[in-house]
Amino acid sequence: YSFFPGRPRWPANKRDLTYAFVPQNGLTDDIKIVFTRAFDRWSEVTPLTFTEIASYQSADIKIGFFSGDHNDGEPFDGPMGTLAHAFSPPAGHFHLDGEENWVIDGAPIVDGNFFSILSAVDLESVAVHEIGHLLGLGHSSVEDAIMYPTLGAGTRRVELRNDDILGVQELYGSNPNYTGPNPNLTPSRGSDTNGAPKFG
């Protein structure tokens, strides 16, 4: 895992964060619930909580789908290529490329791939990754970590791995109710850069 330069994080008095969606996107509840699930994955392992509010302006985290140039100096490039980006704390900006073909429910999953689709992206996989950035994590070289920068075609990757959990807990500590990594995530044959087992 890694952090942004200077290790920015949400201040100690900000553990209950709010989020809101760009009203103009007109997202339906079944889309919004994907983000709820993604936030839940991070709150499960940290003391942070995430609550959706209606007021976009006052939310800590602002989520929106945009196309092309959207005035932050990082224009999107159409289908595939770059999928989304997010700002380090405490900016809270979370932008997704509106020209992607987003799949709301990537299940059923077979060996991590939901289909050999080269032009559709699992929304929850991208959401979990970008929330990692919103919390202060940078990219990781551990291939099955959430914070690995690329997402293979037709891939669904939503479970936090040990690398992600250790990183975010270094910033915020652990959720007192967190009982450890999911035992269903069996160790893979590889190892991370420190020689420690990784999960896959």
Partner: protein, 128 residues
């Protein structure tokens, strides 16, 4: 464009669509010292993700030392063989969809390339 699940996706989307990075396929095998049409685009890619720290956006099609260094750093970060050549595994990785955040910020990477080589000491000790 939202689809509730995979079965709701129109068949025409099941084919690979051309993306901005598909053009990198024609750079397969390129290596240091060559001048090949399209290398400027791959330099822009590396600049975008922080691997080339150059304020200028006017890149040439020369496979120069800057590109080779950026490529090796990229290969190290993504657990590829650090050949410094645009080989098949590297090209296949370059064209994958990805997060738009940079891997290298202000010339510093905390992915693989920013860590000490495997086997090197990570702590200095002094005998007493």
């Amino acid at each position: 464009h939202f689809f509730p699940n995979i079965s709701s996706i129109p068949p025409n989307l099941l084919k690979p669509n051309a993306t901005a990075w598909d053009a990198f396929n024609k750079l397969l095998g390129c290596h240091s010292g060559q001048t090949v049409d399209g290398l400027a685009k791959i330099k822009k890619y590396f600049h975008y993700f922080g691997y080339i720290n150059n304020s200028s956006s006017n890149f040439t099609d020369d496979f120069d030392d800057t590109l080779e260094s950026a490529l090796k750093t990229y290969q190290l970060n993504f657990n590829l063989n650090t050949t410094g050549v645009l080989d098949a595994p590297t090209i296949q990785h370059l064209i994958k969809p990805r997060c738009g955040n940079a891997d290298v910020v202000n010339g510093t990477s905390t992915m693989n390339s920013g860590k000490p080589p495997a086997g090197s000491p990570t702590m200095h000790t002094v005998a007493h």
